[in-house]
Amino acid sequence: MFMPEENEDWTLMACPDYEARIIDWLDGELSAVERQTVENHVGACAACRNYAEELKSLDAVLVSTIQRPVLPENFKSDMLRRVDLAFSAQPSDAAIAQRKHAEEAEFKALRAELPRRLLRANLGIVLDVLSYVGIAAVTWLLLDYALVNAQAISAALSNSITQNPAQFLAWAFSAACVGAGLAFGMRRIVRDLPRLF
């Protein structure tokens, strides 16, 4: 079977003035006067008569081909059952009112609690900032002391290593603990400061 190509030039099927009118005539859409005019023309014009015959054949094939589809007999009852199920699944007005009341109560409770929550959240932030400032101050003081007394510390360490190794180990352990604490604190600052601002 071949398909017509788009914009293909076809020979005229009937007289251009009558093409649409013949269809209306066959569909019974014309007034008595127009019907008579078309019938006279079709009687006299072979091309239009042929066109009308073709249309009649096409109409017969379309009538027999395009059959009205039929819904199943139980379509309506099934549909009504679905509707009833959907309707029964819907909450009643009393249930809706009760739920609305509960949600309003919950909202009021949350609103009453809001200042306390805000205070707690802000207090946490203040304490965080204080702790960060404290860590920074201790770090600064230790570094400052170490730089100012570098020679004395170096001499004390040398003496300690040679004369009292146990004391040196105790100092080294203490310094390592303080260093680790400061490093941990600095890590928190680096991690949390962007979140605060």
Binding site: M3, P4, L58, V61, R68, F75, L80
Partner: protein, 184 residues
């Protein structure tokens, strides 16, 4: 025609109004869906969806448009949404419902029955027509050749229905002539 339904809607008797609606419009909606999706099973499912939507929207129906216009609009939009969904996933399978009808017609094609062959030809010709022409011509023959009904169901002016129908028939005739020339 809609007076009794509107009375029930005014009295908030939605269940009764819905039953009357179904009696009057279920076949129309089914035909409209069928003309748009060209598959009975799918048209039936869509008809169910349309009536579920109508049921849910019934209490909100304001009566600005006529009931039939309102229902046909819901039906058209539901079908168009389904068509869009199908276009969005154009996978083709022989299990797909749109092939059922065609497969059912294959035995008729294998026989030398001239009439069955002609019917298959016309199905192919209809499938070849542009969508808007096909909808109009299908609905025209499903609705006992009523221009008014086709116009109301598709939501297009009656003049447009006539034009589309004229062009559809012209295309089908051209198609038919060409095939006759090829097989002659």
């Amino acid at each position: 025609m809609e007076h009794d339904i509107r009375q029930r809607l005014d009295a908030k008797q939605y269940r009764e109004a819905f039953e009357l609606l179904m009696d009057r419009f279920q076949n129309k909606v089914f035909c409209l869906a069928f003309s748009m999706v060209r598959n009975e099973t799918m048209a039936e499912d869509l008809t169910q969806d349309v009536f579920m939507k109508i049921w849910k929207a019934l209490p909100g129906y304001q009566g600005d448009a006529s009931l039939s216009t309102w229902i046909y609009t819901i039906a058209r939009n539901t079908c168009l949404t389904e068509i869009k969904k199908r276009t969005a996933r154009p996978t083709v399978s022989f299990d797909a419902p749109e092939f059922e009808d065609a497969l059912q017609k294959l035995p008729a094609c294998q026989t030398s029955d001239r009439e069955a062959g002609a019917e298959l030809d016309i199905q192919v010709m209809l499938a070849w027509l542009p969508e808007k022409y096909r909808r109009v011509i299908t609905l025209f023959y499903l609705e006992q050749k009523s221009y008014e009904e086709v116009s109301a169901m598709l939501g297009i002016p009656m003049g447009t229905v006539k034009t589309f129908l004229f062009r559809a028939k012209q295309e089908l005739l051209k198609f038919n002539r060409r095939n006759e020339n090829v097989y002659a």
